[in-house]
């Protein structure tokens, strides 16, 4: 063997492996991945949910393409659903009706597809929130954060293009709104709308166009980005939560084979099972209740799919007039008057634009303010990065106010308040909500950090009340073990870095702005307990298990 350098297998597995490996060289892969360590935490699951719902989308979507006719040709419905018999509609709508009523299991597959789509975007969003709040986007993962953000946008694109395909009344009104927003774009808007609809709205071209985007371009881009995303996860190795034994240089967790593969693989079936359960029992998008698209009727209280809600809500919040000031500007040009439709442009583009810009730029903003360019493989507990957690909370509130505004009419009818008042309050919250969220969240984080200090210095409350000989009551405190103490004291606390002069001794304007931001973020901070502090605390108490300052002082 040593001379021929030939590996002689002795087991069945060995012979199979030998056959494959000597042809495709898979042993390197097995060596790399077979026992690769993945850290385990429940919050790492959201990305998996996104991946698995995407697989479900591909499976159920492929089934639907076999029966769906993406055409706006006018047909008369003659399927099994009696109330719509004899009604004129597009072939797209009619074939969606057939999928629902005349293909066995078709309705189930449609519902699996729709519920998976809702869950896909939801899990992408929650996954990104997890990454943000734990600081997992820091070097070396900034680019993967950006890829994730683009994946989220592509998820929205996939959702929207698919939502419109059945050509029912509800989705047609959605397209109508898109048409209105497109037309508001200065100079190019009208042309874009004409190109998109193949002429005037609604035309007979838009459904097949959305279909090729929905089943080809968008999923292809998602798959490409997904591969890049996972490739980078492997390159970087997964982040892990801080704790005893976990350092910036190691990965503590379970090996892929067998534990992690079993858990992650089993989890796919769990996600599938839950989606199937929901799709079997909860109706979604009952197009037979809405009827085919017609530009004249609309039903009150209709909602877009949840992930479009924040843009729709922003459209609702914008006032067309402030007093007598109109947000539709008519600009006189030498060739005639042109209209700048700020009442649509501002809400449709600015809030979503700000949200995504800050989101994409955040890793670099944080790096610039903290001057921290180190690699970070240990996550932050959100309380230990109060500035970031507060910024995230402000963003979430900003998003949720717009999202709530998309249901302003339902809020008004359910809680019996005036619709106009709901809108006025949400307009105020749109501006003040994020500020309050920032301030309150930072205070909560700092308080939690102080609580951690308290636990390390004085131990945790044991739940045992002791009575002193003098009759005073006090609670017994138990000192935390070394593992917990390390977790509570090992965080990376950012400090305010004043403006630094450059090599020439000059403090640049941007450095001054950075210092101002640094001061704003880090002026209030809570440092971790140090061993010397703990010693001092012990010495101050005599017997450190009981916190008895007050009793002592009474005694004296």
């Amino acid at each position: 063997m040593a001379t021929t350098n030939e590996y002689t297998p002795s087991t069945t597995t060995g012979r199979l492996a030998n056959f494959v490996d000597s042809r495709v060289g898979a042993s390197g892969m097995v060596k790399e991945f077979g026992r690769k360590i993945f850290p385990d935490h429940w919050s790492f699951m959201f990305g998996e949910v996104a991946l698995y719902t995407f697989v479900l989308l591909l499976l159920s979507g492929t089934f639907l393409t076999f029966f769906f006719d993406p055409s706006m040709t006018h047909v008369t419905y003659n399927g099994s659903y009696v109330p719509l018999k004899g009604i004129g509609m597009s072939a797209a709508m009619a074939s969606t009706m057939d999928i629902s009523f005349d293909v066995r299991g078709g309705l189930f597959m449609r519902q699996v597809h729709h519920w998976s789509a809702l869950l896909f975007v939801a899990s992408l969003s929650v996954h990104m929130l997890r990454v943000f709040f734990t600081g997992a986007f820091r070097r070396p993962r900034e680019l993967n954060w950006v890829v994730g953000g683009v994946l989220l946008i592509m998820g929205l694109a996939a959702g929207f293009t698919g939502y419109s395909l059945p050509d029912d009344l509800l989705s047609g009104n959605g397209l109508r709104i898109i048409d209105g927003v497109m037309k508001a774009l200065p100079i190019v808007g009208t042309y874009l709308s004409m190109f998109f609809f193949g002429g005037e709205f609604p035309g007979v071209h838009v459904i097949p166009r959305l279909y090729s985007l929905h089943i080809m371009i968008v999923p292809a881009v998602i798959i490409l980005l997904l591969v890049i995303h996972l490739f980078m996860v492997v390159t970087h190795k997964h982040t892990q939560y801080p704790g005893p034994g976990r350092t910036n240089d190691n990965v503590v967790g379970f090996p892929v084979g067998p534990v992690y593969a079993a858990k992650a693989g089993g989890f796919f079936f769990i996600v599938f099972g839950i989606v199937a359960f929901i799709s079997g029992l909860f109706q979604i998008n009952p197009i037979w209740n809405y009827g085919p698209y017609d530009p004249s009727p609309v039903s009150a209280g209709t909602q877009p799919d949840w992930y479009i809600g924040f843009v729709d809500g922003a459209l609702r919040l914008m006032p067309g007039y402030l007093g007598n000031f109109s947000f539709e500007w008519i600009i006189p040009f030498p060739w005639g008057d042109n209209t700048l439709v700020l009442s649509v442009l501002l809400p449709a583009l600015v809030p979503a634009g700000v949200l995504f810009m800050v989101m994409f730029a955040w890793p670099w903003i944080e790096r610039w303010v903290t001057k921290d360019n180190r690699e970070h493989h240990l996550l932050d507990r959100p309380r230990n990065a109060p500035f970031r957690t507060a910024m995230g909370a402000a963003g979430v509130v900003f998003y949720c106010v717009m999202w709530a505004a998309a249901s302003s009419d339902l809020i008004a009818t359910h809680f019996h308040v005036a619709l106009n008042d709901v809108t006025y309050w949400l307009r105020i919250l749109f501006f003040l909500g994020p500020i309050f969220a920032f301030w309150i969240t930072r205070r909560i984080c700092l308080s939690l950090q102080r609580k951690d200090r308290e636990i390390v210095l004085h131990g945790r409350e044991a739940g045992i009340i002791q009575m002193s000989p003098e009759g005073g009551f006090s609670e017994k405190h138990e000192e935390v073990d070394v593992y917990k103490r390390f977790l509570l004291t090992s965080y990376n606390d950012n400090k305010y870095i004043p403006a630094q002069p450059d090599a020439a001794g000059h403090v640049s304007g941007s450095e001054k702005r950075r210092a101002a931001l640094s001061k704003f973020f880090f002026e209030d901070r809570v440092a971790p307990v140090t061993p010397s502090e703990l010693e001092a605390a012990h010495a101050a108490h005599g017997h450190h298990e009981v916190e008895g300052e007050k009793q002592d002082s009474i005694e004296k």
Binding site: S80, F101, A184, M194, G199, G273, F277
Partner: protein, 349 residues
């Protein structure tokens, strides 16, 4: 800083100063000791877990069989009632759910109870070493050097020019996405016009029956389409522009601006139903406040004030359709709308 800290914040270390030394930290005690699970110590517990996993897989098998029952027994070819369909859909869902959850929960339970739960430690490696990076830079430099692109700016500049121009035809290829075959000017002109014209009767949507002025009671509202809409070439396109709301209110309560005095018939007025915000149909008319409300984004228009915007995001009033009565007493349009209907756009002016 709360009353729990010792002394003032300055001396407690609660607020650390910038020059604090980071070295004063607790040492890492290493991974906590591994605590064996019940199944690690007790073979009977392990056997019990084994049976539980097998039971979960059996549930999956039953779920799959139930799916077939739902597919072939509850479902059948030919017309199904809606109730039958609901039952079948629920049964298919439950069958699939149990088939999948049985496998999934079974595997996870297996992994958590019977597979090793020792956490392992692996070292991270540099993404790439300094040397590799330097080698890569050297290779790229060599490649660029060998092309000679830096020394031959003529080649470089013409190449940049060619590459910049080459994709432009691909963009122009999309010009015919617009299938009307009309020029931009013609299309803009077309957007300004609807099927309404002098003498076109106002008819009910969707029946198409004409409306007599005497049919329209005080406080009533009609959804209106122009006569002959069903024969139009692009029916939906025309309908999307031409739909109208017809209402009647006391002429004394209406503020009518100059030039519009004869656009109504005894308080019967017609306004475009397409919202001037982003084009939803304005379906809600509140009779006692004479307000029109768009259900999509809640733009509110005041009928007594020529449908001016009183709330919400719409940027201008609803266009009014001038109407009159013909010799037979039917309501007809005097002309087309005097301004484009629907959402605003750049060329609207």
């Amino acid at each position: 800083m709360g009353d729990h800290s010792h002394g003032s914040p300055e001396e407690s270390g609660t607020v650390a100063k910038a020059d604090d030394v980071a070295q004063d930290r607790f040492p890492d005690p290493g991974l906590p000791p591994h605590r064996p699970r019940l199944a690690d110590r007790d073979p009977r517990a392990a056997k019990r877990h084994e049976r539980q996993v097998a039971l979960l897989f059996t549930i999956s098998i039953i779920g799959t069989l139930f799916f077939f029952v739902a597919y072939f027994v509850l479902g059948h070819l030919g017309e199904m009632t809606f109730a039958e369909l609901r039952v079948q859909n629920a049964a298919l869902g439950l069958g699939t759910a149990f088939a999948m959850l049985g496998i999934g929960v079974g595997i996870v339970h297996w992994a958590k109870t019977l597979m090793p739960d020792h956490e392992l430690v692996e070292q991270r490696h540099e993404i790439s070493s300094e040397k590799d990076r330097q080698d890569a830079v050297d290779i790229i430099d060599t490649v660029i050097e060998e092309t000679g692109i830096k020394r031959r700016p003529l080649i470089r500049n013409t190449l940049i020019g060619a590459i910049a121009l080459a994709p432009i035809p691909a963009i122009f290829m999309f010009r015919d996405l617009d299938r009307t075959g009309k020029t931009a000017h013609q299309m803009i002109e077309q957007m300004r016009h609807t099927l309404w014209d002098t003498g076109v009767r106002l008819t009910r949507d969707p029946s198409g029956t004409p409306i007599k002025a005497s049919d329209v009671q005080l406080g009533s509202a009609f959804h209106v389409i122009p006569e002959g809409l069903e024969n139009a070439e692009n029916m939906l396109n025309e309908k999307a522009k031409a739909v109208v709301l017809l209402m009647r209110m006391d002429p004394q309560e209406m503020n009518i601006s100059a030039g519009r005095e004869d656009w109504h018939v005894d308080g019967i007025v017609a306004y475009s139903k397409i919202c001037t915000h982003v084009g939803c149909p304005i379906a809600l008319y509140e009779q006692h406040t004479h307000h029109l409300l768009c259900p999509c984004h809640q733009s509110t228009f005041d009928l007594a004030n020529e449908c001016k915007v009183i709330f919400g995001p719409a940027g201008h009033a609803l266009p009014q359709l001038p109407i009159t009565v013909d010799a037979d007493g039917y309501l007809v349009a005097q002309s087309d709308f005097h301004e484009p209907v629907g959402p605003s756009y750049w060329e609207r002016g």
